[in-house]
Every structure is written in C-alpha cells, then in structure tokens.
Amino acid sequence: MKIIKVLLAGVSLAFLASTSQAATSGNTLATVDPEADRLALQSHFQRRFPQVALSDYVNGIYALDAPSREQWQDIEEFPPYEFDIEEGEILFNKTFANGKTYADCFTNGGIGVRQNFPRWDESQGKIVTLELAINQCREANGEKAFGWKKGKIAQISAYMAYTSRDNLFDLKIPNNGAKAAYLDGKQTFYTRRGQLNMSCANCHVAGAYIKIRADLPGPALGHVTHFPVFRSKWGNLGTLQRRYGGCQKNVRGVPQKTQGDKLRNLEFFQTYMSNGLVANGPGARK
C-alpha cells in the first residue's frame, strides 16, 4: 500500500511538473498567449539592437545595417516597384465582365485596407490573406484566379498596400479558431525543415544581422509590413508567399503549398508579431 502511495505521489508530481512547463511555454491552445509572444519578440530585438527604434523595423535589414540602408535609400529614389503600383491601380479599377470591380469585394472600396490582412474569416473558418481575398473576389465575379506568386496579383496587392501606407497593423484574434491558426503559424515559424535543418527563426530571430555567406538576414519583426516586394534577385515584384517558398527551398526543404493552410497561418502569425507597426509596402529588397 505504501509503495502504491509513493508511486501515486511520484506520478502526480511528474504530471504537475509537465503541466506547469506547458503553462509557461505557449505551445497549446490553452496556454498560447499571442500578445505575450509579440512583446517577447519585440523585447528580444530591442535587447539585441537597443539603438534601433521599434518603428524602424518596418525597413527590415535596412533598420540594422547602415551600408545596406544607404544603398537601399539610393534605390528608393527611383523605386523599382513604381510601374507595378501604376499597373496595379489600372488592374484594380478594371471592371469585371459582370460590371463589378475589386472595390465591391472589400471594405472602404479596397483603399487603405492592407493592414487588416491576413484576417480570420469566420464564415470560411480560415485565415484569409490579401492575395486570397483578391482571387476570391475574382472567382466570385466569374473571373479566373491569378497565379499566387507574381505578376498581376502582386501588382494589385502592391497598389492596395500603397494606398495603406502608414496605417497601423492591429490584427485581432477573435476566437479559438483564429487562435488555433495563430498557434499553427507559430509552430511553422519555429520548426526546423529541410536538409539544412533550419527554421524561419534560425535566420530571422537568432540569426538576424548575422551573415549567411554574403547575405544579412532581416529581423522577423516588421518582416511582413513591406510586402509585396520588388527583389533585385527576382528582377520583378513578388508576394510574401513567393518569398516563403524561396526560403524553404533555400534550406533544401520541399516548399509548403502556396496559400495553403500552413503558409496562410504562418503569414497570420508573422503579421500579428508586427502589430503596432505601419504598413509600408510595396518595398524594394536585394
């Protein structure tokens, strides 16, 4: 009897130890605390780079590295995405065959709304990114969906981002469905993938501003605010999910599905981390 009591006490202690660890770790729906995560990430970067103002993180690596910032400022004098904004505006205002336009699908006619995406859509039970909303708008009006990564969808997204510059991101997590999506995105962000066994966080949290060969990875904070971006490497404009696919290939992992649940949830998590920062897309990057 005594042995049973001792064993029971031991098992109870072990159980308590495991639950108290989970309570502080935020890896379950019951314990995840998005606001605590956001503040912890901000605090991480403020400790690492105390000289950098929080608001400057919207500029990515150019907030941290002065020589890169100088080159970038030169590029921004004649922004390479300028024509894409113009083309995006034309496409945005083009009437569908049924007489409607994109403006009919979005609040405020689609002007100044970039900061509200991605968002939890209760009726669909999933996260909706800006690019998904654009394509859903097209399909709802009898038009064929665009490809996800570049071209027209990126141009429309760029125009919508441009009309939203300086608007604050303030994503909401209204219910457990949204919280589950957030948690899934968080897990994806911190999970190692590919033959190189690296996670997003390896480069963009611990590895931010530490050279990987000739490149300096940008900080995760403010990562999403300037998308879509014109990357010099691409020679054209691309969406955030195009970049996700590229990152996953870089670590020799088979990329997850563009605009699938995993990458939409990742985008939601990353954008929530940038709550309080302004939208400043489209941007120019190396």
Partner: protein, 140 residues
C-alpha cells in the same frame, strides 16, 4: 515524504542518465567521427556506423534488389511528403536511381535509392522532432 522525494530523485536521475547518452547520440557521434563501416561499443554491444539504407545497398547488385530498393525509397518519399517534410534533392535522386536501373547500373541505382531513402527517413525524424521541440526556440 522523504521516501517520496528520494524515489522521485532516483527516477529523474535514472531517466536523465539514459537520456544523456542514448543510442542515437552515440551512433551519430561515432558516424560523424569515423564515417561508415566503423564499429563501436554501446552498453556492452558492438554496432556498426552504417545507416540501414547503406546496409540494404550493400546487398548483391542485381535487378531484383535494385528494383526493391527503389520501390522502398519511393514509398518512404511518399510518406515524408504526406507530412510535408520532404527534402528538395530526394526527387532527383529517385529519378537518377530509376535511370540507372533502366541502364542496368544496379549498384549505382541501389546507392542512389539508399541516399533517397535516407533523406526521407531523416525528414520523418525531423517531423517527429518538430512536434515537440519547436517551442524551445521561442523567445520568452
């Protein structure tokens, strides 16, 4: 109460001791230091530093074995893709293994299949680890 604490401490030490140097760690250390074909002792037993796929590829190089190994590698690749943890080079390795098999280069085919199967097995290990270990990287 004292007995309870002593028992718990003993249990933790035992589990900690086992976890401190499990077989996988010992194998990986030896493999990293000496490469394949090296023997080492762990818990009184002797083991080789060969991966299971390398052992399979060391079988007689013929059409039957090469075909079976390629099929097994393709099967494991399908499994790792199903959990979304595939690696980029695996598909190419499988393609090359298939071409080598068609050309009658059985040993080449078996080596390539073994490499592809190793990639997939490691992808599955990565998937298993990802379910619990990711949280340790989150800034607190």
């Amino acid at each position: 109460m004292k007995k309870t604490i002593s028992l718990m401490a003993a249990l933790m030490m035992v589990s900690g001791g086992v976890a401190a140097h499990p077989f996988n760690e010992a194998f990986n250390e030896q493999r990293a230091m000496y490469g394949k074909g090296h023997s080492f002792t762990w818990n009184g037993q002797t083991y080789l530093t060969d991966h299971p796929e390398e052992v399979a590829a060391a079988a007689e190089a013929n059409a039957t074995n090469a075909t079976a190994l390629l099929a097994a590698a393709k099967d494991q690749y399908a499994q790792v893709l199903a959990v979304d943890f595939g690696w980029t080079l695996t598909k190419g390795l499988l393609k090359s293994a298939g071409k080598a098999l068609e050309a009658g280069k059985f040993q080449d085919s078996m080596n390539l299949s073994a490499q592809a199967q190793y990639h997939s097995r490691m992808g599955l290990v990565q998937y298993e680890q990802s379910q619990t270990e990711w949280i340790m990287a989150v800034p607190q």
